[in-house]
């Protein structure tokens, strides 16, 4: 708790908030941040361009009559903050208001950091990426190129608002990535694997299997056939397969899109949107998960929010402003990329609950279809519900068995139809790491699921 005061002391925050609301407004907020990030990349067997960054700054915000006025500065000095507060206050001019007294600073620790990344030498981190690189190359002579990367960030935030909120959070994230390129008979393919989370260096210290998996994916693709085209059953893999839920459901439940009617899920609260064996959560308080934080970027404690309960749509994802608008409680989903950005309702870790099938059962039930093990990413337009996912590792399913690897497959569909098409969920839940882009801001987001089967979805390949 004492740590927050080193970034901005509560009495300074009180003076800034008072200045911010000198000409009125329903909410005044001060968000302060200090971040240090390190990135090491070993490419073509050389550690090149190691990078270290340090940033410190603050974002001030006034909400008045549904409009948000904000500004940021690369400083947390009282003088700069007061000057910015005064300038914003006059931009948002209304009747004066006295902010509520600040509560005692609140901090909640959600994840353990056994080995602080800053306590490990850069040489040891360089050694880790070298081991990942060599582990990838050891998978076969066809592996011709490897790029292995390690990234860490340590971030301290402090948030104060005119409702009396005073929260701080320390966020440590580590992430290991490997891209392997394999070549044989004039054909080139690549595979990517990632491991990361809210944790210390211990999470990745021995994760050379990240290199092995990346290489195996690239090698499998060398024998891949062109993806089939048309509608067919698809079994979606666990872990990063959860990008399906993220795109097909999650974005449409973010309250900004819902309140504007710019989501296909607007007005569907309490309605059946999926079969009764489907339950899904957004959980920013999941210990150690990539998308978790102690509090969100507005100081609201993170929580597990049920979004689909036994097939019924039961929850939207709120930040402070949209919760107020809807007369609902904020769900801890007000997130921002940095102090240079205002908060938006965003997902944290979104996943389907376990079912009771086994992945083998799901595959065995498909005569001809696709097994989409992993995705490069996806995109949705919440307003129309149309989404697309690029399959980075996929296989044909023929007569209930996984056969040839395929390349170039893409899944395309519409949210509500895809949800209704779920006809099986396995019991092997896993959460993976991703980055989610929205409104020009990118934040870490966890995606997860057990194996899930869709009765029918369009696969876009190159084989007509």
């Amino acid at each position: 708790m004492a740590e927050a005061s080193t970034l901005v002391a509560p009495d300074v925050a009180e003076r800034v908030l008072a200045r911010l609301l000198a000409h009125g407004g329903e909410l005044g907020e001060l968000f302060c941040e200090e971040r240090r990030s390190l990135a090491l990349v070993r490419d073509d067997r050389r550690l090149e361009r190691p990078q270290l960054g340090s940033e410190r700054g603050a974002c001030l915000r006034i909400v008045r009559d549904g409009a948000t006025f904000y500004g940021y500065t690369d400083s947390v000095s009282e003088g700069e903050l007061l000057a910015l507060a005064a300038s914003l206050a006059s931009a948002a001019r209304a009747g004066a208001r006295t902010p509520a007294p600040l509560a005692a600073p609140r901090q909640r620790r959600l994840h353990d950091v056994a080995v602080a990344p800053t306590a490990v030498s850069i040489a040891d981190k360089a050694d880790l990426v070298a081991r990942v690189d060599e582990a990838a190359r050891a998978q076969g002579v066809a592996v011709v190129q490897v790029r292995a990367g390690y990234a860490e960030s340590t971030r301290r935030v402090a948030i104060f608002n005119s409702d009396g909120v005073s929260a701080c959070d320390e966020r440590t994230r580590v992430r290991l990535t490997c891209q392997a390129v394999a070549r044989r008979d004039g054909r080139t393919e690549s595979g990517v694997e990632t491991r990361g989370g809210c944790a210390g260096f211990e999470l990745v210290a021995d994760a050379t299997d990240v290199g092995e998996r990346a290489a195996q994916k690239a090698l499998a693709l060398l024998d891949a056939v062109d993806a089939p085209t048309g509608e067919m059953p698809v079994v979606v893999g666990n872990g990063f397969g959860g990008v399906l839920l993220h795109e097909a459901v999650g974005h449409g439940l973010e309250a900004d899109a819902v309140q504007k009617g710019a989501s296909v899920y607007a007005g569907l609260l309490g309605k059946r949107v999926a079969p009764p064996f489907v339950t899904a959560y957004d959980d920013g308080a999941l210990a150690g998960a990539w998308g978790s934080d102690g509090c969100d970027d507005e100081g609201t404690a993170t929580q597990r929010t049920t979004i689909i309960a036994e097939g019924e749509l039961v929850g939207y994802l709120y930040d402070l402003v949209r919760a107020r608008e809807a007369n609902a409680a904020p769900t801890g989903n007000g997130r921002r990329e940095s102090y240079r950005h205002p908060p938006l309702p965003r997902m944290t870790n979104t996943y389907f609950a376990r079912g009771d099938a086994s992945p083998e059962d799901l595959i065995a039930g498909v005569r001809r279809g696709l097994y989409a093990v992993s995705f490069g990413g996806g995109q949705v337009e919440p307003a129309t519900g149309d989404f697309v996912f690029g399959v980075s590792e996929g296989y044909l399913i023929e007569n209930g068995r996984v056969t040839a690897p395929v390349r170039g497959a893409t899944l395309v569909g519409n949210c509500l139809r895809a949800l209704a098409a779920i006809d099986g969920i396995a019991d092997d839940l896993e959460i993976a790491t991703g980055f989610c882009g929205k409104g020009g801001q990118s934040v870490p987001a966890g995606v997860g699921q057990p194996h899930v089967r869709l009765r029918s979805i369009t696969v876009g390949g190159t084989r007509a």
């Binding site: 361009r49 940033e55 085209t229 007005g267 307003a383 690029g390």
Partner: protein, 469 residues
């Protein structure tokens, strides 16, 4: 673009809006000196100060109004053929010194890199003025008014049922680069852009359309045309259904074409090529495109969003023909890749902000060739699709193999006429084939800053796999 002659003097000449360039210059010098003092054999420092504004309007009310000034410095330090990079926000001299020391420490643990170092020739190209001071004079009320006008224009379209939002953004950027080879350069650039997303059709059947405009100052924007464009594009797709799968020719409109061309641009990076990660790796000098097609990289265009007098390493920018007469003439290079390939840098070391070290990439990518009227493009197509939206490019394009399979919506074309709209489909192929299969270019060239900075007209391309029902 600034028609009043005011502020036409070379960057840093002391015009009112440029006085802070001095602060960026001083910060770059401070960081550079600190890096040399910390033991760097060579170093450079990139300082920038950015004033930015964002306005979001919905139902003609202001949803969001943001104004900020931010600054920071990125330092590169070279030690014995190795290099490290560190950055710090703000211009406080102790923090700049700390970043400089960190860059030197990181360089010491890096591996040696052949060709690494400062350019042999630094300098500033004679580019037209990239900053329009009317941007600084424009009030936020004026920008809100532009956004409102845009929204009204979108809502005035008959088929439009709602507008998601109108976003206006602008930026005034002052950059200074100083290096230990005695180069000190600076420039100022401004940009203003607005976009609008409109919906046509009722919820459940709704489709969206996008309108976009970009200029050096708000005065150069046309809000009515932008709103109308969003509305028209949404209306074009209203009532769309999933089409049957087929292999056919397709017209990609300028937005869609720009996204694909930007992906090609990434594959022309010499860095990707030398690492064996580009489908163009062994194609230098070979015929890679339809003979009528030219693709050039040009950072000196007056209206180019990525224009600048020098690149991220201090090399003077210019125009580089990458593909001409269908042949691949060169890749884009920075100093390192050029030295390793035994050629000259094409001044394509890009820095997206002070927080990133220079990486090889395209600046403004310009697609050229003989252009025909849009109606003629459709007539030549005959039967196929007119594609207006692509999605999922970051996961649907494989930059190593060059294959792509991405989400799409558009309109079925039958007998050279637009017929029924189509959605929930994918278009797939290979980008190397796509360049060869370009049959014709439309006459609707525009800048699309959303997928890199690309200037392209719509493109008629044969041999695309469309997947739907």
């Amino acid at each position: 673009m600034s028609g009043d002659g005011h502020g036409r003097a070379s960057a840093g000449a002391g015009a009112a809006g440029r006085r802070h360039e001095l602060a960026a210059r001083a910060a770059a010098e401070t960081a550079l000196e600190a890096a040399v003092a910390a033991g760097a054999e060579a170093a450079d420092a990139w300082a920038e100060r950015r004033r930015s504004r964002r306005v979001v309007v919905w139902r003609e009310a202001v949803e969001e109004l943001g104004e900020a000034v931010s600054c920071g410095v990125g330092v590169r330090a070279f030690v014995d053929g190795r290099w490290g990079f560190a950055y710090a926000s703000g211009f406080a001299s102790d923090e700049l010194a700390e970043a400089a020391r960190a860059a030197v420490a990181l360089a010491r643990i890096a591996d040696r890199e052949t060709g690494a170092g400062l350019p042999d020739h630094c300098g500033q190209a004679g580019v037209p003025d990239l900053a329009d001071e009317r941007l600084l004079a424009a009030t936020s009320d004026h920008c809100v008014e532009l956004a409102r006008a845009c929204e009204r224009a979108a809502r005035a379209q008959r088929a439009v049922t709602d507008v998601e939002q109108v976003v206006y953004q602008d930026a005034w950027l002052e950059v200074a680069l100083a290096n230990s080879a005695s180069f000190a350069g600076a420039f100022t650039a401004s940009s203003a852009w607005m976009y609008c997303t409109a919906f046509a059709g009722e919820v459940g059947e709704r489709m969206s359309g996008f309108g976009l405009d970009i200029a050096r100052a708000p005065h150069g924007l046309d809000p009515e045309r932008t709103g109308r464009e969003a509305g028209e594009r949404a209306a074009l797709l209203a009532g769309a259904t999933k089409p049957p799968s087929r292999r056919c020719a397709v017209v990609f409109d300028a937005f869609a074409a720009a996204a694909l061309v930007a992906a090609v641009g990434e594959m022309l990076s010499a860095e990707q090529v030398e690492r064996g990660r580009s489908p163009f790796a062994d194609k230098l000098g070979a015929e890679v495109a339809s003979s009528s097609l030219t693709i050039a990289d040009d950072a000196t265009l007056p209206d180019g969003p990525a224009s600048a007098p020098f690149d991220g390493e201090g090399s003077p920018t210019g125009r580089t023909e990458l593909i001409a007469g269908g042949r691949l003439l060169t890749f884009v290079h920075d100093v390192r890749t050029a030295r390793r390939a035994g050629t000259n840098t094409t001044a394509n070391a890009l820095r997206s902000s002070y927080r990133t070290p220079p990486v090889v990439g395209v600046s403004n990518l310009v697609v050229a060739g003989e252009q025909v009227p849009f109606a003629q493009l459709l007539a030549t197509l005959g039967d196929g699709f007119y594609i207006t939206d692509l999605s999922g490019l970051h996961s649907g394009v494989n930059p190593v193999s060059g294959t792509f399979s991405v989400g799409a919506s558009g309109v079925v074309v039958r007998g050279g006429e637009l017929a029924e709209p189509a959605r929930e489909m994918t278009v797939a192929g290979s980008l190397t084939d796509l360049l060869r299969n370009v049959q014709a270019l439309g006459d609707d060239r525009r800048w699309v800053p959303l997928a890199g900075s690309v200037s392209t007209p719509s493109l008629l391309v044969d041999g695309i796999t469309v997947s739907g029902r």
